[in-house]
């Protein structure tokens, strides 16, 4: 497999809002990518003004608006690049390479899906959730966050689902008190699912993959590794699979859970 149909689209930052804790919502002008991005694919972004920090940063796409020609990117400040990104003013031009990789694919004939999101992992699953709801699949969503303040995707999910998602916070400030794996397990034990998808920190995805495997339910997860090229050339972002090393960028980022050797 290799990247095809990639483009490098330059667009202006239309807004860059602080949502809570270290989370920000970037809306960027991207008329072409907005049309092309499939749920779970990502963009590789060159953030201007980073001086000695030369590499691009990969970001999942939270939502696209084809009419407005924009993309929303939800990001967490984790290092120099995202810190710098959070300071970009409206009107600054950024370059996004995309659409990269393979997105989510609900199994044929899927009737009921469980979506488990940890932290900013809620972003790359939002378009997929919308798509599944629109296709008539019954979708249950569990959103985990460290605190109520970091629970920044709940409203959008509620709009799409027509009812609130199951919320869990590590500190108990909102919803279930504890990790989102507990309500996820309850749902998995209670209902009959034919598909689980999960994005979040690796330990979360590992636990959810195991729970899904034990329940005999097909599971997909979205991997992230340090990445240089983002197009499949440099072999920086590889993960181990039973078939050998695979590239997160273009072989993933969404993998069948059984493909990943943790």
């Amino acid at each position: 497999m290799c990247a095809t149909g990639l483009l490098d689209e330059k667009g202006k930052v239309l807004s860059n809002k602080h949502l809570g804790r270290n989370l920000y919502l970037l809306t960027v002008e991207s008329p072409q990518l907005a049309k092309l991005m499939e749920p779970g694919q990502f963009v590789h972004t060159l953030i201007p003004g980073m001086e000695g920090h030369i590499l691009r940063r990969p970001f999942s796409v939270y939502a696209t608006d084809v009419e407005a020609g924009t993309m929303d990117i939800l990001y967490q400040v984790v290092g120099f690049g995202t810190q710098h990104l959070s300071t970009l003013a409206e009107g600054v031009e950024i370059s996004n390479i995309g659409p990269i990789g393979h997105g989510w694919k609900a199994p044929e004939g899927c009737k009921r899906a469980l979506v488990v999101c940890g932290g900013v992992g809620a972003a790359p699953l939002f378009m997929h959730t919308s798509e599944m709801v629109a296709a008539g699949i019954q979708v249950d969503v569990v959103l985990g966050a460290q605190t109520a303040e970091a629970m920044v995707c709940a409203d959008r999910y509620e709009q799409v689902l027509g009812s609130p998602a199951v919320l869990a916070t590590d500190d108990g400030s909102l919803g279930y008190s504890g990790f989102c794996t507990v309500p996820a397990k309850e749902l998995l034990d209670t209902n009959s699912y034919d598909y689980v998808c999960c994005c979040g920190p690796e330990p979360l995805m590992k636990i959810v993959s195991r729970m899904a495997a034990e329940a005999g339910v097909h599971c997909q997860i979205s991997m992230e590794k340090r990445m240089a090229c983002g197009v499949g050339a440099c072999l920086s972002c590889v993960i181990d699979t039973p078939e050998g090393k695979k590239r997160c960028c273009v072989d993933g980022p969404v993998f069948n859970a059984e493909e990943v050797i943790w």
Partner: protein, 305 residues
């Protein structure tokens, strides 16, 4: 296009312009073809290939550092057979010379890789990689010591009549002596520099940023070292030089040619800007036009000092 002659001869390999890619940064060109049609390049240099393939090193394999990056990929590659079936089959549909980067864990393996490729007309030249810092056998371990350079280069020379470029490591005391050993044993050209051995530490976790602890430094940070070594080697050998190390723009590439390079490779810049190779070529042409240079060959070694 402009009326500047961009064609160069790199040790018998005719390139339509002096720009190729640094091995390992461009795969075999397909991944970047949406951004730069491979035909635009003077040559494609493939990812290093070993006889039966290697799995490479553990992750994390890269770390960003000031004006550059460290990598410790470890020459992950699927082996010669897959190169022929997949990459060369794709490249043969494109009108571009192919330089295959040859890697091995032993003297024999280098020769075996060449033997497995030499009757293939889709291979136009070899770059013998005796400079990768990320493998425990072969690579840099062979390229930093004159007797082993002499041995591996002469063995490879016996195995092929095609243009043979030998890629050198900057991690040596005297790069000129290594270059001369390669030249004396049959190298048609010298490429340099491979990455500089370095490391990065995460103070908070007290861990190295690379799983292998050490890795190769590339990007603009290494350009002054690369220019210096290209210049020194160009004074010490007669064969042409393929210069590389931190080239981001056409002007960077021109600097390497002035220092003595006949051709240049664009590496880390591809990760930053997927159009980097095309931008470098366009920038070189623009420079020549502005400076009234009719033939890019006029610039080779034209440094005034």
């Amino acid at each position: 296009m402009a009326n500047v002659n961009m064609q160069v001869n790199l040790g018998g390999l005719i390139m339509r312009n002096p720009v190729t890619v640094a091995s390992g940064t461009f795969a075999a060109g397909r991944e970047y073809n949406d951004f730069v049609p491979v035909e635009r390049l003077g040559a494609v240099t493939t990812k290093g290939v070993s006889l039966n393939g290697w799995t490479g090193n553990d992750s994390p394999r890269i770390a960003e550092t000031a004006s550059g990056m460290l990598n410790s990929i470890g020459l992950q590659n699927p082996g010669v057979k897959v190169l022929r079936e997949k990459d060369l089959s794709w490249l043969e549909k494109h009108d571009v010379p192919v330089i295959v980067n040859v890697s091995g864990h032993s003297f024999d393996e280098y020769v075996q890789v060449i033997e497995a490729l030499d009757d293939d007309p889709r291979v136009h030249a070899y770059e013998i990689n005796i400079s990768c810092p990320n493998v425990d056998a072969g690579g840099m371990t062979m390229g930093t010591h004159v007797p082993s350079v002499e041995k591996v280069v002469s063995l490879c020379r016996e195995a092929t009549k095609k243009p043979m470029i030998v890629k050198l490591s900057p991690n040596v005391t005297d790069v000129v002596e290594i270059a001369q050993a390669a030249e004396a044993n049959g190298a048609d050209a010298i490429s340099l520099i491979n990455t500089l051995l370095g490391m990065a530490v995460d103070a908070r976790t007290r861990k190295p940023k690379l799983a292998r602890v050490v890795g190769g430094l590339s990007g603009p940070a290494v350009k002054p070292v690369a220019l210096r070594m290209v210049w020194q080697v160009s004074k010490g050998v007669k064969v042409p030089i393929l210069g590389m190390g931190g080239i981001m723009t056409g002007e960077d590439a021109i600097e390497f040619m002035l220092a003595g390079a006949t051709a240049v490779s664009v590496g880390t810049a591809n990760f930053v800007n997927p159009h980097a190779t095309a931008d470098v070529i366009d920038g070189m042409i623009a420079h020549c036009e502005q400076q009234g240079v009719k033939d890019i060959n006029e610039l080779i070694g034209a440094l005034e000092c």
